[in-house]
Symmetry: C2
Subunit: 222 residues, 2 copies
């Protein structure tokens, strides 16, 4: 995905290496399990075995159990996992129980598309503002999110205690913007700009490069 999505490797950066060192891949899968559990809950399923949940998430059962084991013992031997309970635990672990404010930086083609998409809001994230160098450029059909000049970025981050940003600026501008974001205290970046960002240890970056994902798939076609 992207695939795996492409991706960083430090184990548990950001958090204070809680509980030894948990592979970042495990954390990533936790989000996937969480999603599967939500669907099971919607379907009224009360209990799920590691085998069933693993299949839904596309992993092998021992992997799922190992991943969960980093955080505790949540299952009942001979039975499986309580769907609601496990979903709640993952909510706590991932920090998705509280609504998380997010800003979008870069409202060009892709940024506009992401704004109009709106799918983030359903999952506990809210884009509370968008920033761009050119505020006046026409962008038909934008949802009612405040659009601000990028010069107000640092101030806004401070004032609203923003911790996460979605970055969709041109590659050439990305590093400079990131420097500003980091200086303002931002902690996590979902990067759609086609560049590898240079960030300090305590800032976490996930890269999603749509062109790279397609190129990568292209290799596997005969």
């Amino acid at each position: 995905m992207i695939l795996h999505p492409v991706k960083e490797e430090p184990s548990a950066a950001g958090r204070g290496d809680r509980e030894e060192s948990i592979p970042r891949k495990s954390i990533y899968r936790l989000s996937i399990y969480h999603r599967c559990l939500q669907r099971l809950r919607e379907n009224g399923v009360e209990t799920v075995s590691s085998e069933a949940l693993a299949r839904a998430a596309g992993v092998k059962p021992p992997q799922l159990r190992k991943d969960l084991a980093y955080f505790g013992q949540f299952g009942t031997r001979g039975l499986g996992y309580n769907v609601i309970q496990l979903a709640g635990i993952l909510n706590d672990v991932l920090g998705t129980n509280r609504l998380q404010p997010v800003i979008l930086v870069g409202v060009g083609n892709l940024g506009t598309a992401l704004l109009r998409y709106g799918g983030f809001n359903k999952e506990g994230f809210e884009i509370i503002a968008a920033f761009d160098a050119d505020v006046d450029r026409p962008r038909p059909g934008l949802p009612p999110v405040p659009l601000k000049p990028i010069t107000e970025l640092a101030r806004f981050i401070h004032d609203h205690q923003v911790k996460m940003a979605i970055l969709a600026v041109p590659a050439a501008a990305a590093q400079q913007v990131v420097n500003d974001l980091v200086a303002a205290g931002l902690q996590a970046i979902l990067n759609f700009s086609p560049t590898i960002l240079d960030t300090p240890e305590h800032v976490v970056v996930s890269n999603v490069d749509l062109a790279v994902e397609l190129e990568n798939l292209s290799y596997f076609i005969r």
Copy 2:
């Protein structure tokens, strides 16, 4: 990604296990190197060392050299790599030298956003048609891509020899659609639907789940 962003693990599925077994991660990085080389070329750089290219791509130099070594020897000892030549080689390896037709399946919020984004076309991919169960639903500002009912999917894939699809249908519909795609001979899927797809060995899937990427980042915020 992102990313990411998430991702499959079989080594060299799809292709006939050419050259022993090449890690999928290596292939993925090849796309990243390719992108960095393009930028270097634009800047008029003629030669690049493994150290410089690795830094641009966010990896360590031996990793870059190992990745390239799966496909041959392209550098000059004492000098480095010729930017244009290496870019050409990666074009060949990745199969991005020829224009690749792609279809979009699912023109809801996200699908529409992706269509309007249009960033794929620059990179050697062209969305030649879009499919949705409901063709009549209003979608303002769509680019001039043929929008067809999903019932014509199989026929179209056959007639146009389509090998790649971008999937952005609701989770509940995804597996059924994928079954149809696979039956029609499709080989690679970039999946934006928030589900793990069940596909035969010879079909490659990259998953990009935007909500999962955000959730994952959420963990690292204190």
